[in-house]
């Protein structure tokens, strides 16, 4: 079932169709929001708000202008930036919540620590990037959006997206190397 069909169903009053959209996009959305360093609880709140807003304004969604994914991540980016600014204002240090690490295969304590360190390093490295580079890079890492879709979300040209990804990865690599030392 493609997004267009599901949206049509939602607008016709079928809420189960919206549930399918939520399930389809929840993981990419969480991954995207993770990069903004919001922490698990706030990430979940923002993700809920993204879906809520999408549902409320679904009738104004125009498939001729953008895909549903593009539209959804545009909402997500706006909310994440607002929330990120608020979090920074409160100067809260958001630690990676180890309780929320996947429990699959019951990892050993050592595995958990290593995974947590790796995650923390990636998150800290992402936070060192300028906002525009970070957002573009996170969208690129989703693998679900084309360069054209990312350009639409970022309101810039495809060439700019490519250059941001290039610069973003170079900075990210440098930040990760620094964190190793």
């Amino acid at each position: 079932m493609d997004d267009g069909f599901l949206i049509h169903q939602v607008l016709g009053g079928n809420r189960n169709a919206f549930r399918l959209l939520v399930v389809r996009y929840q993981r990419p959305l969480f991954r995207f929001l993770f990069g903004f360093g919001l922490g698990p609880a706030v990430t979940e709140e923002v993700a809920q708000e993204v879906f809520l807003r999408a549902f409320r304004s679904l009738s104004s969604f125009d498939p001729a202008k953008a895909t549903f994914a593009t539209w959804l991540f545009t909402i997500a980016k706006r909310l994440a930036l607002n929330e990120g600014a608020r979090v920074r204002q409160r100067a809260e240090h958001v630690a990676v919540d180890e309780e929320r690490l996947p429990a699959a295969d019951a990892p050993s304590a050592q595995d958990k620590i290593e995974r947590s360190e790796r995650t923390g390093r990636v998150q800290r490295a992402l936070q060192t990037l300028p906002e525009t580079l970070r957002s573009t890079l996170l969208l690129a890492y989703l693998k679900e959006l084309s360069l054209e879709q990312i350009a639409q979300i970022e309101s810039c040209a495809v060439g700019t997206v490519k250059s941001r990804i290039f610069r973003g990865k170079a900075l990210l690599r440098a930040a990760l190397v620094n964190s190793e030392e």
Binding site: R15, F18, R19, V22, V23, Q26, R27, F30, R31, F34, G35, P40, E44, A47, Q48, F51, L52, F55, R56, S57, S59, S60, V96, R100, L101, P102, R115, S116, R118, T119, R121, V122, Q123, L126, A140, Y141, K143, L147, V161, K162, I165, F166, K169, L172, R173, L176
Partner: protein
């Protein structure tokens, strides 16, 4: 003018699919091969790091659906009135009412006068 290696490396970073000719270049060029390996390592590290941290609660979709019920969206008037076809219908309705009122005015003002022998 960008060198072929620069063009190739930009394409690798952007995650663009490389054609056979480009793949052959990457495999044959030490600089590009090294660059591609570095990129893969970075991507894998970031993706693994993000994947390890991100965990969607099992009942997340349920909670979203419950919130929709609380918000009780139904059809929002702003959204409803924002629809193009609704605006067209309302505009046409307005024009129709205006025309009807004009006709009523003309008939009520002029016809009684004519029937009493006046000049319209």
């Amino acid at each position: 003018m960008k060198s072929p290696c620069t063009v190739m490396q930009e394409r690798i970073v952007a995650g663009e699919r490389l054609g056979e000719e480009h793949q052959a270049h990457v495999l044959g060029c030490t600089q590009c091969a090294r660059f591609a390996a570095d990129c893969l390592a970075l991507d894998s590290m970031v993706e693994n790091g993000v994947d390890a941290a991100v965990s969607v609660p099992d009942d997340f979709a349920d909670r979203v659906m419950r919130n929709l019920d609380v918000a009780n969206p139904g059809v929002h008037w702003q959204d409803f009135l924002g629809r193009r076809w609704i605006q067209v219908v309302l505009a046409n309705l307005g024009v129709a009412v205006a025309v009807i009122n004009l006709v009523r005015f003309v008939f009520s003002a002029l016809i009684p006068t004519a029937s009493l022998g006046g000049v319209p």
